[in-house]
């Protein structure tokens, strides 16, 4: 029943696609010798082919960093693909731009019995501008569109990339997909004497083989059996291995940078990318000063400035050159009235600064799936920028790419995660506001009138807060016909609805959304031999039950949790009454609580229900008990009573 919005897609670093697989020329020759006789025959043990759309037979990635000013990435990858779905695991794609060059890219295809059937050269790759709804970008891509002639087939893919930017080293994730087996995957990083190299293994349950010597480190991962994708799966990084790599001193598009500590790194961003961008035209300062008038409270002033920014600007995506990380000048945003997330955040920061309100330009991994900036690994991280205003001991967060988000409301795009706040002298990692469990409250009050002709009339009032508020905000931007569609789906348990009222009100200062809906529905119930079967919860039935999975392998996650409180007053025609009232239904588990009861007051039935689902991370073996809990709830939600003619 919750709808997802899809706004402010803002990618700071489209170039940091996880890189996988590499090699040197020497190693390459060796490998050919080793594999020359039998290597490309697609026969593997059943344990590896089971559930696999593809099998990575060998993957070797070599990252060479002789100095902080240059980097070479060589990939060598042998993969067997079993079906169409496995084509996505080929990963025959490379991105490039002014500071990054694809030196070579090629491949060879072998059929199931290991016979070479096709050579793929650079000219067989398609080149295109990277343009995903963006207004402008200078990143380009080379990719292969290969049509297999039979399955399984095996592909050797080799590429060499050189880059003068060393800010983004590849993240190694040997298994980055479900339905993918991996026999051997390794990465080696070789770095010059003066290169301040570092790495971090992300905690996981698999054994990585690590070899470290002076100026060189390698990781190997072997014999991984494909996993099936599973419902409500936790993030892959919580149960699959990955290693982060980085440099304490790096080059980013010709500019030297420091990532020794968050404070130094933040200072670098501030000095090199933000400091010179703050100028605001006098006219704008005067306009805002007028808006502020005699207001002295800093947060109230900040609200006025934020709303001014929202009314003046709009979000566009621009990624040109260092623009990938450097915001447009504040005065350009002011003049043009548009910018990307960095530009709008920095513009708002600059406006606030003029009025002596300090704020932090902050980097975050955005998306409804929460992801932290890895705290103990200082490097260029994040995909989005937001603004934090210190407010007593807390920070008030502003999403500057939205023209509609209320002041201080974050929503599920950047909530509850570690972000980097940047300031001249005290950059650090902090956590954003969270919306958990009962905070995400949807309160529903309904009056259901059953008419003598078996139709019904219904009045519903829904008050939402927390993340539910965020979801409801989308209603404001829907067209009238889409609003009807939304409510048709929302009240899907009732057929033949005719809406007479669909009003809503956004109390944005309290982050509270109120809906008032009225509708009638013919044939709401059926009379069978003078008896009527009446659903108790027809307005807001929560029917979700996860599918049974006897051998669940992956841990699962409930991201935020929520609470639904419903009261429904059901009036029956005067000649009818309930045959019997069901008993109170109450159950509890580590995943949440449920209570539903019905009573009779002055001839009306009063149905009350409270459902709480808690956020949490759970091991796979608990999945069945969660499923049973939801099944129990779904059954209770579907409770019906028999209504008879009064004697």
């Amino acid at each position: 029943m919750f709808f997802k919005k899809n706004i402010y897609i803002c990618s700071l670093i489209s170039k940091t696609q996880p890189m996988k697989s590499v090699f040197t020329a020497i190693l390459l020759q060796i490998s050919f010798v080793i594999f020359a006789q039998d290597s490309f025959i697609a026969t593997y043990p059943d344990s590896l082919t089971e559930n696999a759309n593809a099998i990575v037979k060998t993957e070797r990635i070599l990252v060479e960093i002789p100095t902080e000013k240059s980097m070479r990435i060589t990939k060598y990858r042998v993969i067997t693909v079993y079906n169409e779905l496995g084509l996505r695991n080929l990963e025959t794609v490379e991105y490039f731009d002014k500071s990054r060059t694809v030196k070579s890219i090629e491949g060879t295809i072998y059929n199931a019995s290991g016979k070479e059937i096709k050579r793929i050269r650079r000219k067989d790759f398609t080149e295109q501008a990277v343009s995903q709804g963006s207004i402008a970008t200078d990143v380009r891509v080379l990719f292969l569109e290969y049509t297999p002639v039979s399955y399984p087939f095996t592909m050797i893919y080799e590429s060499e990339i050189s880059s003068s930017t060393t800010a983004f080293l590849p993240t190694w994730m040997p298994v980055d997909s479900y339905f993918l087996s991996v026999i051997h995957s390794s990465i080696t990083v070789q770095y010059g004497e003066n290169v301040r190299f570092k790495y971090k293994e992300i905690p996981f349950n698999y054994n990585l083989d690590k070899k470290e010597e002076k100026g060189k480190i390698s990781f190997t991962f072997q014999n991984f059996k494909a996993l099936r994708s599973e419902e409500m799966a936790a993030k892959m990084t919580t149960f699959l291995p990955s290693v982060l790599f980085g440099l304490d001193a790096f080059q980013y598009e010709g500019v030297l940078g420091i990532a020794e500590s968050w404070n130094l790194y933040g200072k670098w961003i501030y000095d090199k990318l933000l400091k010179e961008t703050e100028e605001i035209p006098v006219e704008t300062i005067n306009t805002i000063a007028q808006l502020i008038g005699t207001e002295t409270d800093p947060m109230k002033k900040a609200k006025i400035i934020y709303e001014y920014m929202q009314s003046k600007t709009r979000y566009v995506s621009i990624q040109l050159g260092i623009g990938g990380w450097k915001p447009m000048l504040a005065k350009d945003v002011d003049r043009l009235g548009y910018g990307d997330c960095k530009a709008l955040t920095n513009y708002t920061r600059s406006l606030l600064k003029v009025f002596n309100i300090p704020s932090y330009y902050s980097l975050v991994y955005s998306g409804s799936e929460k992801r932290d900036i890895t705290e103990d690994f200082v490097s260029m991280q994040g995909t989005h920028a937001i603004l934090g205003i210190p407010n007593n001991q807390k920070i008030t967060w502003l999403e500057c790419t939205s023209q509609t988000m209320p002041f201080g409301f974050q929503g599920d795009f950047t909530d509850d995660r570690k972000v980097l706040i940047i300031s001249e002298n005290e950059s650090k990692i902090v956590k954003t506001a969270s919306y958990l469990n009962e905070q995400n409250l949807q309160k529903t009050h309904s009056k259901v009138v059953l008419n003598p002709d078996n139709s019904m009339s219904c009045e519903v009032k829904i008050v939402s807060s927390g993340i539910v508020y965020d979801e409801k905000l989308a209603l404001k931007t829907k067209k009238p016909e889409d609003v009807k569609d939304y409510y048709n789906a929302f009240f899907s348990t009732i057929n033949n609805k005719k809406f007479t009222k669909t009003d809503f009100k956004d109390a944005s200062s309290q982050f509270e959304f109120t809906e008032n809906i009225q509708f009638n529905a013919e044939d709401f119930v059926k009379k069978v031999q003078d008896k009527i079967i009446l659903p108790l919860n027809s307005v807001n039935q929560v029917a979700f039950v996860p599918k049974k999975n006897k051998d669940r392998k992956i841990p699962f996650q409930i991201d935020r949790g929520y609470c639904m409180e419903d009261e429904s007053i059901i009036s029956l025609p005067s000649n009818l009454q309930a045959e019997a009232l069901p008993e109170i239904q109450k159950f509890e588990s580590e995943f949440g609580t449920y209570v539903a009861s019905v009573s009779e007051v002055n001839g009306s039935l009063i149905y009350k229900r409270k459902l709480v689902i808690k956020s949490g991370f759970y091991e796979a073996q608990k999945f069945e008990s969660y499923r049973k809990f939801r099944d129990q709830i779904a059954r209770a939600e579907n409770s019906k009573i028999v209504v008879i003619t009064k004697p």
Binding site: S131, R314, D332, Y338, N495, N496, K526
Partner: protein, 645 residues
């Protein structure tokens, strides 16, 4: 006297109008407007779109097409701010390149009572080489807010007189006024067609010129509503108001005319004469050995057809590119076992002819490509094969580029009105693509009530024709686990085990599984309430909208039968059974039936749902909606079981 007055009036009006539709004349009143007067929900509106296309004779003596377009767009709501990002694509491949010039781009805002004008400078213009052959110019208007008006114009200079751009009258937002003029040199003959339901006025007059005389056409339209998406529409752009120009001929004064596409015969001949089409049918050496080994003279024509079709289908792999022209060419494609639709199906036509069959290519336009509106080479994007056996009047349609097709079942995307059968002598015949026969699906369930709380049973679905094609597309080559997961997703409320999918040549496809359903039975008081169609009932009306603008289109005509038997517990008997129901739409486009009974402790339910016409008028919408309402009501009724006394 009366006449003169009206003429004068007209003249004044025209002056007034032409001022109104010039760029740079934004008024405070226009900026003050909060919502569109005719559609208050509109995010924005095209206040006007005007333009003209003229021809210029270059120094090399060839024509150049110059199209100028002027836009004035109002933004009413925040959600409409995206209208301030505009782009123009142009062709850069081929011998001559197209050129695009964007100019006169301004944003207008109301500041106090004054109109403020902001110029879009080069910093807000971006050029992107999207692909090898196409580039895009993008502009991002500065200083845009709710209420802003943006204006811009662009000019496209193109050497391609045969590639006249479509002129679009209708958008998702309302369009207040459109005017488009074309100045067509006398020697160029274009065919035109206007699609959609909106009223477009056309005026025509001769304009003398220095180099050549032209005919000037003026197209005007007012108050075109924004186009809204609807369900059960194959391709909404079929209903959008668009003007298309197709070069038919060049009538030179000093040399013979060159025809491009005047009739279907011309189209057929031009396409046939293209070396990437007709020429490809002539090669034979590349397949002779293999095909020779496959067929012999004792075989019937049907056998030969089947063998060759299956040979190409199995051997060739479609590279997901659609075209009526070969990409690699049949010889290379055959060798590499990969090709586009033309490579694969023209190869099939050639082999079938080689085997002595009466085979021809059929060109068509896929659903995404829209309906071909007039004889034109560019209207088609797909080619299949057709065979006539033993003088039968019926053509058997073949598409070997999909692994799931069989003779006379072509992909759903190609079921788009009619195609053109191209005969060798340049003749062409229209051929209906929609299937004339129903596709049939039969579901049989044998089940029993267990512990009064759940229903367990076996499910079997057999499907032929398009139902089978879809089943094959979804279920072919899946592991048992994945098949089971897909079926659970489809039927939602049941647990599934032992799922199998069978497809055998010449037989219906079969899906089998065992299921447990906890939702199809409820205990209320001391009675059991059973959903008669178990988990197959229609629980929501597919037609929810209150209004309908476009015809309702179904993929194909079909019959669906459900036969369900449920054993009830020994100590229970039927108290009530839902009444039988027979429904038929006014024109018998859809039939529905439901009936059931109990014998010897077995519930027997049978239901059918047939679609006999693949398109219904928008005017039938209310009828259709209430038709489905009755079905939903019926299938929501319960069989009530009571304890035996």
């Amino acid at each position: 006297m009366k006449l003169k007055i009206s003429l004068l009036f007209l003249l004044i009006c025209q002056i007034g109008l032409s001022q109104k539709y010039k760029l740079g004349a934004v008024t405070a009143d226009e900026l003050k407007e909060k919502t569109h007067p005719k559609d208050t929900s509109a995010l924005g509106a095209v206040l006007f779109k005007t333009g003209k296309t003229t021809f210029n004779l270059t120094n090399e003596g060839s024509f150049e097409l110059i199209t100028e377009v002027f836009f004035k767009i109002k933004i009413y709501k925040k959600e409409g701010l995206g209208l301030a990002d505009q782009k123009v694509s142009y062709y850069t491949g081929g011998s001559g390149s197209e050129k695009v010039f964007i100019s006169d781009a301004y944003t207008y805002n109301l500041v106090g009572d004054k109109v403020e004008k902001t110029k879009l400078k080069s910093e807000s213009q971006f050029k992107e080489e999207a692909t090898e052959n196409w580039s895009v110019k993008k502009i991002t208007f500065p200083n845009v807010k709710e209420g802003s008006i943006i204006e811009y114009s662009y000019k496209i200079v193109s050497p391609y007189v045969h590639n006249f751009r479509d002129w679009v009258f209708q958008y998702k937002i309302p369009v207040n006024y459109v005017e488009y003029q074309t100045y067509i040199p006398e020697i160029l003959k274009y065919r035109t067609v206007i699609s959609g339901f909106e009223k477009i006025l056309i005026d025509e007059k001769v304009v003398p010129g220095n180099d050549f005389n032209s005919i000037k056409y003026t197209y005007t339209a007012s108050n075109i509503p924004g186009q809204k998406e609807e369900e059960f529409v194959k391709n909404i752009s079929n209903y959008t108001s668009i003007l298309k120009y197709e070069l038919a001929a060049i009538e030179y004064k000093t040399k013979p005319s060159k025809n491009f596409s005047l009739s279907w015969a011309d189209v057929a001949k031009t396409i046939y004469d293209n070396p990437d089409f007709g020429g490809q049918l002539e090669f034979r050496s590349y397949y002779e050995d293999e095909v020779g080994a496959l067929i012999n003279k004792t075989m019937s024509d049907t056998e030969k057809m089947t063998i060759l079709f299956e040979f190409v289908q199995k051997n060739m792999n479609w590279n997901e590119k659609e075209s009526i022209y070969c990409d690699l060419g049949v010889k290379k494609a055959f060798k590499q076992k990969v090709g586009n639709t033309a490579d694969i199906n023209l190869m099939l036509v050639a082999m079938l002819r080689h085997a002595g069959l009466n085979a021809n290519p059929v060109i068509l336009s896929t659903r995404d490509n829209g309906i071909p509106v007039f004889p034109s080479r560019s209207a088609f994007n797909y080619v299949i094969a057709a065979v006539r056996i033993n003088g039968s009047p019926n053509q058997i349609l073949l598409d070997a580029s999909s692994k799931n097709t069989v003779p006379n079942i072509i992909p759903i995307k190609t079921l788009n009105w009619e195609g053109k059968l191209l005969l060798p002598k340049g003749e062409s015949v229209s051929i209906y693509l929609d299937p004339e026969k129903h596709s049939t699906k039969s579901i049989t369930i044998l089940a029993k009530i267990v512990d009064n709380t759940s229903i367990e049973g076996k499910f079997r679905e057999t499907a032929d024709a398009y139902h089978a094609y879809l089943a094959k597309s979804k279920y072919s080559d899946l592991s048992e686990k994945t098949l089971q997961e897909n079926l659970v997703k489809k039927y939602e409320t049941i647990e599934i085990e032992q799922a199998t999918f069978k497809k055998e040549t010449g037989k219906p496809t079969q899906v089998n599984f065992s299921f447990t359903s906890d939702n199809a039975i409820e205990i209320i008081g001391d009675k059991l309430y059973v959903s008669p169609l178990l988990f197959l009932g229609m629980d929501e009306n597919p037609f929810q909208s209150e209004t309908r603008n476009f015809p309702i289109e179904f993929d194909y005509i079909q019959k669906n039968n459900y036969t369900i038997s449920v054993k009830i517990p020994d100590d229970y008997e039927v108290e009530t059974f839902p009444q039988p129901l027979l429904l038929q739409t006014n024109g018998a486009e859809i039939n529905y039936s439901f009936k059931g009974s109990e014998t010897n402790g077995m519930l027997q339910i049978s239901s059918s749902f047939d679609i006999n016409a693949s398109i219904l008028e928008a005017a039938d919408y209310e009828m259709l909606k209430s038709f489905f309402k009755e079905i939903v009501n019926k299938e929501g009724e319960k069989i009530v079981l009571k304890k035996k006394k």
